[in-house]
């Protein structure tokens, strides 16, 4: 500030010599804040800024706000296709960012950044000693344990492992090797599972210090050489529904200490022969456990990340499709708001805008475009 003083004094003199009428000036330094618990129809558009990936940001949007300018509630910076997760028992959001001392080069540091939901400010960080995986963003690269005592991050160096962080004590607890197994699915109160190339789940339960207490491996339940399981699952309340390349839906219950692998069934019927699931975030579930799936016709080898032309709604308990929504614009990702009353289905379309549909009817409510995001590849409903 020392350098500022002569300047401020000069300005003061300038103003005192200028003819100005009296008026109460508007206050200096007013900063907005947000509620501790965000409304159900707020979402986080996670813009990894694909072509400027070191300057990413996550934008908070109110989908109930009719004025697009006012829908933008604020933004949090993060970097290099940051991982993201929200707490529900604390007003906190976590990002795992990577920084270099010279932007795109120099010394690398990986950090877990803790943001406060009311101020959208970083309130702490934990340095990650193991380099985080770098990949196209998806949800199951970073998760909180069900008790929210630990944050789990997927590493790929190319050795595969999971870092365990205590976000309250703000300490790194350690690294758990997961050879041949990727991603993290919270399992039980304080454990996780990873999906393995051999068609199994590898499960690790952690103790109160975040150290492995037990490990186990499921029976083989899919064959990656025949019909690969897509790890980008729909998730609700500890239950996951995994699509496969060929259109099976594989339920897994992660609420207990060991995952319970359900019976897979086909999402494809005579009406939809040749269709397949696809996209960057092809699946999501609502608070009633209905599963929403992006699907495209004329599926073929390599089409598993193609945009979906429709969203199919499934009742997974009944193992049946309950609705088909034709999309206004092909979609790359789906997500749901958390409410049961009037849930919104948010579809990231191929123009990188958000198409907001009534999740119950498939009616297009609005399109949120031009809100300052380049590639908001993942959208999260506010927890």
């Amino acid at each position: 500030m020392k350098k500022l003083l002569p300047f401020l004094l000069a300005l003061l003199l300038l103003v005192m010599g200028t003819a100005m009428a009296q008026l109460q000036p508007e206050p200096m330094g007013k900063i907005e804040t947000l509620p501790e618990k965000w409304p159900a129809h707020w979402v986080l558009a996670h813009d990894v800024s694909f072509s400027r990936v070191m300057d990413g940001r996550t934008i908070v949007l109110d989908l109930d706000e009719e004025n697009p300018a006012r829908a933008y509630k604020g933004m949090m910076n993060n970097s290099f296709a940051a991982f993201m997760a929200q707490a529900t028992t604390r007003p906190e959001i976590y990002f795992a960012s990577i920084y270099y001392s010279r932007g795109t080069r120099g010394e690398r540091i990986d950090v877990l950044e803790i943001y406060d939901k009311q101020t959208l400010s970083p309130i702490g960080e934990v340095v990650l000693e193991v380099p985080r995986a770098i990949l196209l963003p998806q949800r199951f690269t970073m998760q909180l344990t069900r008790d929210e005592s630990l944050v789990l991050l997927y590493n790929f160096t190319p050795a595969m492992s999971v870092s365990v962080v205590d976000p309250v004590a703000r300490e790194l607890r350690g690294e758990v090797p997961t050879p041949g197994c990727a991603a993290v699915f919270p399992t039980g109160e304080r454990g996780f599972s990873s999906v393995c190339a051999d068609g199994t789940l590898y499960t690790v339960q952690l103790d109160a210090d975040g150290q492995p207490a037990s490990t186990s491996r499921s029976a083989q339940f899919f064959d990656a050489g025949v019909d690969p399981l897509i790890e980008k699952a729909a998730w609700h309340a500890g239950k996951a529904w995994f699509p496969t390349f060929m259109g099976q839906l594989q339920p897994v219950d992660f609420t207990g200490d060991q995952p319970v692998i359900g019976e897979a069934w086909s999402m494809i019927d005579e009406e939809t022969t040749g269709w397949r699931p696809g996209g960057l975030a092809p699946a999501a579930a609502d608070a009633d456990g209905r599963v929403y799936m992006l699907a495209h016709p004329e599926g073929r080898e390599g089409s598993h990340r193609d945009p979906g032309m429709e969203v199919w709604v499934f009742d997974p308990d009944q193992q049946q499709r309950v609705d088909r929504y034709e999309l206004a614009m092909p979609g790359l990702g789906v997500s749901l708001t958390r409410d049961r009353e009037a849930p919104l289905l948010v579809v990231l379309n191929v123009e990188m805008a958000l198409d907001v549909y009534d999740a119950r009817t498939g009616e297009l409510r609005k399109t949120v475009a031009n809100f300052g995001a380049e590639t908001p590849l993942l959208v999260y409903g506010a927890e």
């Binding site: 401020l8 008026l23 109460q24």
Partner: protein, 169 residues
């Protein structure tokens, strides 16, 4: 820069027709006065008897009367308002100054264009109007500078337009 706004927002086709744009305030801003944003120091801050500024127009639009010398993203589209910063940013204590005509009372007001700092570009509602803007050798009247000075970080998020006084015409 409206062209930049449109560029960033992906709608550039109609720019050619716009290049000689005139807003309803086009001839305002030639009278420019310096001021400071550290307002508690200033005489203008001490009088509170004239009430509030009469308003019209949309603070989310670049055409809004206060924005006559704005160059940046409008904080009103970024989680702030015409006079407050978005969550998690910091308002710069010093800034550039403009004089804009309020169409309601046909009076010139002195506007402090403080930047909100500490996060990178909002990217929403880019607005450039250069009425009263002067070259970089006259800093207090220049909107090309990043005015995130005296703040913890210099990253630029958006700009507010605070009324800090009336200018005698």
């Amino acid at each position: 820069m409206k062209w930049l706004d449109r560029l960033i927002e992906g709608r550039t086709r109609d720019l050619a027709q716009r290049s000689s744009r005139r807003s309803f305030l086009a001839r305002v801003g030639t009278v420019v006065a310096g001021s400071a944003a550290t307002l508690p120091l200033l005489p203008v801050a001490r009088a509170q008897d004239e009430g509030s500024v009469p308003e019209s127009g949309d603070p989310h639009s670049c055409d809004y009367w206060r924005y006559c010398a704005t160059d940046g993203f409008l904080c009103s589209c970024c989680g702030g308002s015409a006079s407050s910063c978005p969550p998690g940013t910091e308002m710069s204590p010093i800034t550039w100054i403009g004089t804009c005509l309020n169409p309601v009372d046909n009076t010139n007001y002195i506007i402090s264009y403080n930047d909100c700092c500490g996060k990178s570009a909002c990217g929403h509602c880019m607005c450039t109007r250069n009425e009263g803007d002067r070259p970089i050798y006259r800093p207090q009247l220049n909107n090309e500078y990043n005015w995130c000075l005296g703040t913890q970080h210099q990253t630029y998020n958006c700009s507010v337009a605070r009324v800090i006084g009336k200018a005698f015409d």
